[in-house]
């Protein structure tokens, strides 16, 4: 099998379009995961035991089932109940929900790491609960977990090809489509690997920088 450079340049634009979709899905899914994860974490702190148990059960369930059945569920099953959404939107939402159960754990650990003295100082200053969270606890907790959250961004990016099962033309599906048309899989699939590595390495460098910046204090 010979590497064909002309063919490589021909398919590159398609793959880059796919990469754009991959990156978009990752970024928007990540934003959902960041916000929803915090929602889970705060819900878990509700005084009602039953409610806590329910939230915990739901998040455990989502975390322990694979992404692909979840994608199928959102894309193929929800429309039966009248909820029809496009493949990319469905993919973003599913990625976001799936990873929110991981970020929730990260936040929970970050909050648990806040020394008791911080909470006690808040009581001694009589701060209202909203301020305790917004001004004292969350800024410190989030700072501590930024490196871990960054690692989940990379993990999510690597999981995003799974979106092809619901026909999202992200990079891998774009490569596959190009390959089946020409019967040449070597170039498109190799390119996918190269592009993934480039983006992953760049992200890793950024995450490591964040780590250095936040780990010191």
């Amino acid at each position: 099998m010979q590497w064909d450079w002309n063919y490589t340049w021909d398919i590159l634009p398609d793959l880059l379009r796919g990469l754009r979709t991959t990156v978009l899905a990752t970024i928007f899914g990540y934003l959902i995961a960041l916000v929803l994860g915090m929602v889970w974490t705060l819900l878990r702190r509700s005084p009602s035991r039953v409610f806590n148990g329910a939230v915990r059960w739901v998040t455990e369930f989502i975390r322990s089932t694979p992404l692909i059945p979840q994608l199928f569920f959102v894309y193929y099953v929800l429309p039966a109940w009248g909820l029809t959404i496009g493949p990319l939107t469905a993919g973003i939402i599913t990625l976001g929900i799936h990873y929110s159960t991981y970020t929730a754990e990260v936040y929970r650990a970050g909050i648990a790491d806040i020394p008791r003295g911080q909470w006690e100082a808040c009581t001694a200053l009589n701060l209202p609960r909203s301020r305790v969270w917004l001004d004292v606890v969350l800024p410190q907790a989030i700072r501590r977990v930024i490196p871990t959250l960054g690692n989940y961004l990379i993990a999510m990016f690597k999981d995003s090809p799974q979106l092809l099962v619901i026909q999202v033309t992200e990079m891998l599906l774009a490569a596959y489509k190009a390959g089946t048309e020409s019967y040449h899989m070597l170039e498109p699939i190799t390119l996918v690997g190269v592009l993934f590595i480039i983006v992953s390495v760049i992200s890793s460098i950024l995450v490591r920088r964040l780590e250095r910046r936040y780990a010191t204090n």
Binding site: A121, A124, R131, R143
Partner: protein, 304 residues
């Protein structure tokens, strides 16, 4: 300053900084006069009617361990009391109950004429709700062994957070007051520093200023020099001595530094196993302790 005889009728809710309260003519005048002479230290300190404190049959347990067993004691308005005694004798628990960091198991705690952990509901005494605790806590400030400054805020913000968020002070007046307090504790040049950039002694000074910024009437000091390097202890103690002299706060202090206890307090309570073994003016307790248990404890502390 000697304990004042004029106990307040009722602990007045904290009023906002510059509200010229006609009802408190005397104390506002005093405050104003001190402000004019430009002495940052004195102006920054709380003046006003400090409430007394009374414990009635207070019980505190941790699991099966009874830390306080029907404890009774009282602190006069403006009095400064030091609690001494071996570890685990319940001294710190007393402060933590007053700061509502621990829940009361039984008995009643009075601050001024109001109960801390109970409120009146249709003539009955019922457990306090959050709102009542919030109101009562406004009178009390605490300085911790481990400082507990907020590491995500600079020094100035540590001092203004409470006044702005809780007392409803404007940003400007909170900043002005905070600067006065930082000046008093000798850290006027550190307002933009973060706690991690300060020495332990400096952090504790900021923590003292932060507690005072809330204009408490009762100040609780929980082993405030125990976590400091030896060479930094004196500076913090001197500061607290000045505060004790210049303000009329009711103060409760837990310490293992007997010289400091002698200087700062009007009265010393010796605790053991959740009970008061002996009490009296510092000179007598340290000079001629009556109880065997006190003598043993003092010997052990002074030997160390």
């Amino acid at each position: 300053m000697p304990p004042t005889d004029t106990a307040p009728e009722a602990p007045t809710p904290e009023e906002s900084e510059d509200a010229a309260a006609p009802a408190e003519g005397v104390s506002t005048e005093k405050k104003g006069a001190r402000k004019e002479d430009g002495d940052g230290a004195a102006a920054a300190l709380p003046h006003g009617d400090a409430p007394g404190i009374r414990f009635e049959k207070v019980v505190k347990r941790f699991g099966s361990n009874v830390v306080l067993r029907e404890l009774d004691f009282a602190v006069e308005p403006g009095e400064r009391v030091t609690l001494i005694g071996p570890s685990g004798s319940g001294k710190t628990t007393i402060l933590r109950l007053l700061m509502t960091l621990e829940k009361l198991d039984d008995g009643v705690i009075w601050i001024g004429d109001d109960t801390l952990w109970h409120m009146d509901k249709g003539g009955r005494r019922v457990p306090a709700n959050q709102k009542h605790l919030h109101e009562m806590r406004k009178q009390v400030g605490m300085v911790f062994q481990q400082f507990n400054l907020f590491p995500n805020m600079n020094v100035l913000r540590n001092l203004t957070e409470g006044p702005v968020r809780v007392l409803g002070a404007s940003k400007d007046e909170a900043v002005e007051r905070a600067r006065g307090l930082l000046d008093m504790v000798g850290l006027a040049d550190k307002e933009n520093a973060h706690p991690s950039q300060l020495s332990g002694g400096q952090q504790q000074r900021v923590a003292i200023a932060r507690a005072l910024a809330m204009q408490p009437k009762v100040l609780l000091l929980d082993e405030v020099t125990s976590a400091l390097d030896p060479e930094l202890v004196v500076g913090v103690q001197d500061l607290l001595r000045d505060i004790a002299r210049e303000s009329d706060l009711t103060m409760l202090c837990v310490t293992h530094e007997m010289n400091f206890a002698r200087d700062i307090s009007n009265r010393v309570l010796m605790f053991d196993q959740g009970q008061i073994v002996e009490e009296g003016p510092p000179d007598r307790i340290f000079g001629e302790p009556a109880e065997q248990r006190t003598r043993e404890f003092l010997q052990a502390v002074l030997a160390s």
